[in-house]
Symmetry: none
């Protein structure tokens, strides 16, 4: 139990790992336990939201301990988490638009792009830090294609044809990807060497990533949850 | 399992950590497993009650171990717990009054005030103990604004317009905040240096906080639970 003893009261990075871990656990309980109160066609979406926060809860548990023991970035666990949760978010996008007739091809396109984005990011952070700027650029390119796909590509047309609660949930998720996901490249720049060094001077990469995760995983899930609540209420009225 | 062997039979602080941990776990099981027996519109409220005790159960688990290992106040974990559970209690307030037309602005106001209250408290207990009286005063000011908001502000009018079971649940919760939450500043004074030193001489801060948590987290949840039971019975009659 030495671990429990080690957290210093001014270890703000450790603090965000602890708060993040617990918030992910609580969010998972929330999604898992509430899914059956809504229309069956939304249940899988709420369940996937819960899986995303559940996977994150487990990795935050590791990352918390890793941080407490080594006081360095748990890059490995961070990317294990992302490589599972980010594709699941692409599945969420698809599930929401499925009601409007989305094809699986859209889902696979988003999944592949997101895996490319993360693999390049991992190379920059962990394998070839000297060229972190280059890997970040390549990763960022994949990110932009994702943003383009959902904001202006076929996903947009599907959402518009569905209208109503599906359209407004889709819009919210698009904003999450554009603004919420943009938190990650900022963290990356704060934590890797490059011409951009010092711009975000002082702020810890892990704190930035942890804030990003809280917003994107829990917030994203709540948008989906809210869609289920609204659509169920409308169907019953 | 050396931990289990270490608790001395006269370690009353450790005793309250153990009892608190188990009580929170049992309360979580109770709320989670009973939520689906009541009207859907109350389920989220019961679920949130369960999340509050669940989060507390996890932190009591840490605090118990921390206390057993170090025999000192687990300030860090205490505040990680509060920073999550107190805003969730503000969400509860909102959920109950939502049926009466409460706006999200009320919820955010309460959440922000409660975060301010806790951040100041943490500074006094952990960062700048020499000026604990000042941080406590600032924290107490935020606490008073919360009390004012719910007893005399817009929340009161909403509760009155709803009447019936909602009004009486709201009243009970108001009393919890006024009397139940007032236990915490007493614990704070018992555990920090200041002109008030010795007034509560001898009583351990952690015992006071643990009693406060048991009353506020479980009691608060039971009030919400009771509202769901009463309102469901009435709706079915
Ligand atoms: C653009 C970019 C990145 C983007 C990362 C993103 C967008 C991660 C999203 C993670 C999510 C949404 C997790 C939540 O479950 C990296 C890899 C940091 C490398 C630098 C460039
Ligand atoms: C006023 C005041 C405080 C109030 C703390 C409160 C009111 C905590 C409530 C916690 C609850 C309700 C937890 C249950 O989940 C502090 C921070 C001790 C600092 C001293 C002044």
């Amino acid at each position: 139990f030495s671990l429990v003893g080690k957290i210093a009261t001014d270890d703000y990075v450790g603090f965000t790992f602890f708060v993040g871990c617990m918030a992910m656990m609580a969010a998972s309980a929330f999604f898992f336990l509430s899914m059956n109160s809504y229309d069956r066609k939304w249940r899988t979406s709420i369940l996937v939201s819960g899986l995303i926060t559940f996977i994150a809860a487990v990795h935050y548990w590791y990352m918390r301990d890793y941080w407490a023991a080594n006081a360095e970035s748990p890059t490995f666990f961070r990317y294990v988490d992302w490589i599972l949760t980010v594709p699941l978010m692409c599945v969420e996008f698809f599930l929401i638009l499925k009601v409007a007739g989305a094809k699986k091809a859209l889902m696979w396109k988003l999944i592949i792009l997101s895996v490319i984005m993360l693999v390049f990011g991992y190379f920059g952070e962990a394998v070839d830090r000297d060229n972190a700027w280059l890997w970040g650029l390549l990763s960022g390119a994949a990110y932009f294609v994702i943003v383009y796909e959902i904001w202006l590509g076929s996903a947009k047309k599907l959402a518009e044809s569905a209208g109503g609660a599906v359209l407004s949930a889709h819009k919210m998720l698009c904003w999450f990807v554009l603004v919420g996901w943009a938190i990650y490249p900022v963290g990356y720049m704060a934590g890797t060497p490059g011409w951009y060094e010092g711009i975000f001077g002082g702020i810890s990469m892990d704190v930035i990533y942890n804030i990003g995760d809280a917003i994107n995983k829990i917030g994203f899930g709540l948008v989906v949850y809210n869609l289920a609540v609204t659509a169920t209420a409308k169907a019953e009225a």
